[in-house]
């Protein structure tokens, strides 16, 4: 009943894309409405048992029909999608440039999530990539946008080229054109040995490159900043999750047999690498949206770790642990989806108002944009996994699953888990640092430009969207239990176990023993402490305060011609990053500081240039690019031949074929 409704709503989105190019003002509100309705429907579906269902739609692959299905897993991701998309639509109500692509983007993602056959899945997946590619190109006059879009679309093609074979390997052979139905895959014997491993590799590469898993993550910090904010929000918040959904769907559902336990290890390894590298890059990027994109890499890495642990546990026949790990992954996916959307919207608003995306050109926005800053703080606390935010709840679950994972056994695996724990902690700390840097430099302190000093708070709908998302994020943080209840049907279907008795309204426990994490209690403690402190201060301490120039260890107050103080004396993005860059950047990002210090007496300005290189770019993409160029040149040399040489090629081909024939027949 809900599935046909969703199908109609997706169709409605597609139809909304038709008037969109003509800049109709009603499109975005309508999209928001559709998303809202769909979110409510999915919420109802999940709350009332999540009975899986499937329908057939009479379009699709030539000679076959499209199949759509809705179950617990797709429900979770659909819920996230529609909540984020609804908020983004409200936020982007004034958008005229990329209007047509927004409903298409949402519809494509919904299609990918609703797909019950390989063709529909890939159709949605690729359409989603294409729509977001178009959104990146909204500012196609800028070369950076075009370059990012090109890398982006290439990675999208790569990911489709990996996912398709994986799905084909899973589907049973048959002569009929059937679009690789999922039901048939579940019924078929899972490919074993080499072909099974191939499925794993292809899915990790295919879904990973779309999700931003190391080493296929290089496009995120380039592509996300280039798109309009509500697009980047959706790309980071929802689109990467669609890719993770595909990974989960294939590895846990379509691959029918429990895989060998070691399958999880590469996923965990890539996840850990992404988490650390993403966290590090989030500390080094100079573009506020790139910071968030890098942090998406980090969070995707964490989710991938959860998926990997669940996979290992599934192979080790520990359904309870698998459910715990997958619950952590799914909850973090949802939480990250919400708070990252929120952060992108907030940061987008800030960079729009402040006139720059460069972190070191913003600053002091908290005074002019208190609501935005407040929302960013709410999102940022989740990003930094501060209790009792939503980010902490899900990372807590992920940590619990990894802490319990050594039960699976095997010294090698156990050491992997130990290292993973350490790396997750590094990632979490890096995320906190990145959050402090982002908020501290871009929103706090003094304005660095005149534009920043007169920045205006965003308009009312945008604020409403951000406040709504912040509310959702806070609610998810305070009540992770109910959200886990919504995730339960998916867990049950995928692992055979669930968190039913472990996810209470208030308390979430990793095992059935009643010891665990109680977000409301933590929140209450902090709240009590906070108000107690205020109360005590009010009673015992002297009231009021005095304003004066900043102390700064006795530095002089800023001169009159620099009403905001000399902005250069503030810590900027690069300066804040310096300790971490020195400690970790050299090894992981080939960070290089180039100091140009004028000799004493010289009047020119000194300069400090920082060079960074992502290892994936240096060791993977650059060599592949060189290889491609070399092959292209060779192919050119083979093509632009003289007539005589061309004839010689024909002649050789003829002779070779004749020799082969003669040889075969002899």
């Amino acid at each position: 009943m809900i599935l046909p409704l969703l199908a109609w709503l997706v169709l409605a989105l597609l139809i909304l894309a038709i008037p969109a190019p003509f800049s109709q003002p009603y499109v975005m509100p309508a999209v928001a409405g559709v998303c809202g309705a769909a979110a409510v429907a999915v919420l109802g579906f999940l709350a009332f048992g999540a009975e899986a269902s499937e329908i057939v739609v009479p379009v699709g692959l030539p000679g076959a029909s499209m199949r759509l299905a809705l179950d617990g897993l797709s429900g979770v991701f659909l819920l996230l999608l529609f909540v984020s998309a609804g908020a983004c639509a409200v936020y982007g109500h004034g958008d005229r440039e990329s209007l047509a692509f927004f409903p298409l983007f949402v519809a494509a993602m919904a299609l990918a999530l609703l797909a019950a056959d390989g063709f529909t899945l890939l159709l949605g997946f690729e359409a989603m990539s294409l729509a977001s590619w178009a959104a990146i190109l909204v500012h196609h006059e800028e070369k950076a946008s075009r370059d990012a879009a090109l890398l982006y679309v290439g990675m999208a093609a790569f990911s489709a080229a990996c996912l398709l074979p994986a799905l084909i390997l899973l589907s049973p052979a048959g002569d009929r054109i059937d679009g690789l139905g999922f039901a048939a895959m579940r019924g078929a014997a899972a490919p074993e040995g080499f072909r099974g491993v191939l499925v794993l590799v292809l899915v990790v590469l295919g879904a990973g490159s779309k999700a931003g898993l190391f080493p296929m993550h290089v496009w995120l910090p380039l592509a996300h900043p280039a798109a309009p904010s509500h697009f980047s929000a959706l790309m980071s918040g929802a689109m990467t999750k669609v890719a993770l959904y595909v990974m989960i769907r294939v590895l846990f559902d379509l691959y029918a047999a429990p895989p060998p336990a070691w399958w999880g290890v590469p996923v965990i390894a890539l996840g850990a690498a992404s988490a650390v590298l993403g966290g590090l890059r989030a500390n080094l990027e100079g573009d506020v949206k790139a910071v968030l994109a890098a942090s998406t890499i980090e969070n995707v890495g964490l989710i991938a770790i959860g998926i990997g642990v669940a996979l290992t546990a599934r192979g080790g026949d520990l359904p309870g642990l698998a459910a715990l790990a997958l619950a952590g992954a799914l909850l973090h996916a949802v939480n990250h989806g919400v708070f990252k959307t929120l952060l992108f919207l907030g940061v987008g608003a800030a960079s729009h108002a402040g006139g720059s995306r460069a972190i070191s050109k913003l600053g002091g926005l908290i005074h002019r944009m208190p609501v935005t800053t407040g929302c960013v703080l709410a999102g940022g606390s989740a990003l930094a996994a501060l209790p009792p935010s939503s980010g902490f709840a899900s990372e807590w679950l992920l940590f619990q699953s990894v802490l319990a994972a050594p039960r699976i056994g095997g010294l090698g695996l156990q050491i992997v888990f130990a290292v993973t724990v350490a790396l997750m902690a590094v990632a979490a700390a890096l995320a906190a640092s990145a959050m402090v840097r982002l908020i501290g430099v871009a929103f706090l302190g003094r304005p660095r430009t005149p534009r920043g000093a007169v920045a205006d708070e965003t308009d009312r709908p945008a604020r409403a969207a951000m406040l709504g998302l912040a509310g959702v994020s806070v609610a998810l943080g305070l009540l992770p239990g109910p959200m886990l209840r919504l995730i339960n049907p998916a867990l049950h279907a995928l692992t055979g176990s669930d968190l039913a008795e472990r996810a209470g309204l208030l308390l979430v426990t990793p095992t059935s023993v009643a010891l665990g994490y109680c977000a409301p209690a933590v929140a209450m403690l902090v709240g009590l402490g906070f108000f107690a402190a205020l109360l005590v201060l009010r009673r015992l301490a002297v009231r009021g305060h005095v304003r004066g120039p900043a102390w700064a260890n006795g530095f002089a107050a800023s001169p009159a011609w620099l009403p905001f103080g000399d902005p250069v004396t503030q810590y900027g993005g690069d300066s804040f990053a310096q300790p971490i860059r020195r400690a970790l950047g050299g090894a992981l990002m080939a960070a290089l500081e180039e100091v140009d210090m004028p000799a004493p007496g010289e009047t020119r300005a000194g300069n400090l240039a920082i060079h960074l290189a992502d290892p994936a770019e240096r060791y993977l993409f650059a060599p592949i690019g060189r290889l491609r160029r070399a092959i292209s040149s060779r192919a050119d040399a083979m093509t632009f031949l003289s007539i005589r040489a061309t004839l010689a090629v024909m002649f050789v081909a003829l002779v070779v074929l004749l020799v082969v024939i003669a040889w075969v027949q002899a």
């Binding site: 000679g63 890939l122 075009r146 290439g154 074979p165 054109i177 007539i643 090629v649």
Partner: protein
């Protein structure tokens, strides 16, 4: 009457030939252009009746699903291109690249080209099919060299010599095929008939079949632009007038592929003969890879799309090499959709090149900035050819991939590399062509939207056939594929 017993289908190739004769005599280029278009329209209407005549298989005429399908497609593309040509030549006249005398030759040869292709498609006789290919080649050569610039002469001479050798080899292969068939169906015309040979394939001389296969594959493979026999294609496409590039890009490749497909069907029916799939598949794969990597370094738009045609043609050949109803279904679908999409692209490129006065990427870059509609249409066309949704080539490439993996995991790797590298290059050039700021000294100008209507028609068909193919068409294609495997 003298024509009683001769099927109507004969009129389909006869119409363009008659038109060619008339056009050779009409001095006015304006009238010629209209006659050209009307003749193509008539030809298309005649071809539209072909699906209802399926089953004719005399010694001379063969109307089965494959030939009817391809003939209809060819006639359709020829018709829309003729419509495009109506306004295109006006621009060329204005730019003094063509004059009245040349246009007379151009129109006549356009029809002769079309007639040759239709002849090759609808003939049941190997020899006549060969003559059709030869006619089409000669006509195309004459048109490609029309501009008389040194580069166009070089291109057409290269085209001619290479394809001349190609069709000479094909003739040798035809003779061999006849020789192979005689033990099974006896001497005489019967041994030159596709249907008879196919029916009696099992009793043919397998070893001679092998020999004929080698020659026909290389001969027609040259026309299909399969690597390493493809080097004439980029030059011919780049130098010829755009309408011819548009038709050349799709149709002549298709005709050659259809002949190879029929040959494959014959050989696969014979136990003694080698497996015809492997060589076809190898050439197809080589073409895909070759073209995919070659796409990256191109500076000339039409040459670029010629390479893309090589890639797509190679992909279709690859599918035919795989064999089986699914793969042939996918291959024919791919061929069909690619023809439509590529013709649309060439029409766009032709318009853009006329607007901008050059056909290099540096001339056309940033099309959306000056002519939004044309730029977006071209972008849609490139997206279609790159095999991205929502266009139909996504579906056909999907099906080909499915068949490939069912066939062999290892084949999928090079194919995947080729498709990704090629698609990436296409998207890169999409961004150069359509997006970004237009160059500083670029001529502006926009096109009346009505001129884009046939292009939209093409793209709409590509869209509908890929995502919502009517059941009747799907059944038709499925029966077509089943009949060939």
């Amino acid at each position: 009457m003298i024509f009683s017993g001769v099927p109507w289908a004969v009129l389909v190739p006869a119409c363009p030939f008659a038109a060619a004769a008339v056009l050779a005599m009409v001095p006015s280029w304006r009238a010629g252009a209209w006659i050209n278009f009307l003749a193509c329209g008539l030809c298309f209407l005649l071809a539209a009746s072909l699906p209802f005549q399926v089953g004719i298989r005399s010694d001379w005429v063969l109307v089965d699903r494959l030939s009817a399908h391809m003939a209809l497609l060819t006639a359709f593309v020829a018709m829309t291109t003729a419509w495009f040509s109506l306004t295109y030549i006006r621009g060329e006249i204005a730019r003094r690249r063509l004059d009245r005398r040349k246009l007379r030759l151009y129109h006549a040869m356009y029809q002769a080209f079309l007639g040759g292709m239709l002849l090759a498609l609808l003939s049941n006789n190997l020899g006549v099919a060969w003559v059709g290919m030869e006619t089409a080649t000669i006509a195309a050569v004459l048109v490609v060299g029309l501009a008389r610039t040194p580069s166009s002469i070089e291109a057409s001479w290269k085209f001619f010599l290479i394809c001349g050798v190609g069709i000479a080899l094909a003739l040798f292969g035809t003779i061999m095929l006849y020789l192979a068939a005689t033990p099974a169906v006896g001497a005489g015309l019967a041994a030159m008939s596709w249907t008879r040979i196919t029916a009696a394939a099992a009793r043919c001389d397998g070893r001679v079949l092998n020999l004929s296969f080698v020659f026909l594959l290389l001969g027609y493979g040259t026309k299909a632009g399969l690597a390493p026999l493809h080097s004439w294609m980029p030059d011919a496409h780049a130098e010829g007038p755009t309408p011819v590039s548009a038709v050349l890009a799709g149709s002549i490749l298709n005709v050659a592929l259809v002949l190879i497909l029929r040959l494959r069907h014959v050989l696969s029916g014979n136990a003694e003969a080698i497996d015809p799939g492997k060589p076809i598949l190898a050439l197809g794969l080589l073409s895909v890879l070759f073209a995919a990597f070659s796409l990256w370094h191109r500076r000339d738009v039409k040459r670029f799309f010629a390479f893309s045609s090589i890639e797509q043609s190679g992909l279709a050949a690859f599918a035919f090499g795989l064999g089986g109803p699914g793969a042939i279904f996918a291959g024919v679908l791919h061929m069909t959709l690619h023809t439509l999409a590529k013709a649309a692209i060439f029409q766009c490129v032709g318009r853009a090149a006329q607007l901008r006065g050059g056909q290099r990427f540096s001339d056309i870059g940033g099309l959306v900035g000056t002519d939004r509609l044309l730029g977006l249409t071209l972008a849609a066309g490139i997206v279609a050819v790159a095999g991205l949704p929502p266009f139909g080539l996504f579906a056909s490439e999907f099906l080909i991939s499915v068949e490939t993996l069912r066939h062999s995991v290892w084949l999928a790797l090079p194919l995947g590399i080729g498709l990704v590298v090629g698609g990436w290059a296409l998207m890169m050039r999409l961004q150069t062509l359509c997006l970004g700021p237009p160059g500083p000294d670029v001529r502006g100008g926009t096109l009346p939207a009505v001129q884009l209507v046939p292009i939209w028609l093409h793209l709409a068909i590509v869209l509908v056939l890929g995502l919502a193919m009517p059941a009747a068409v799907a059944d038709w294609l499925r029966a077509l594929a089943a009949g060939l495997s």
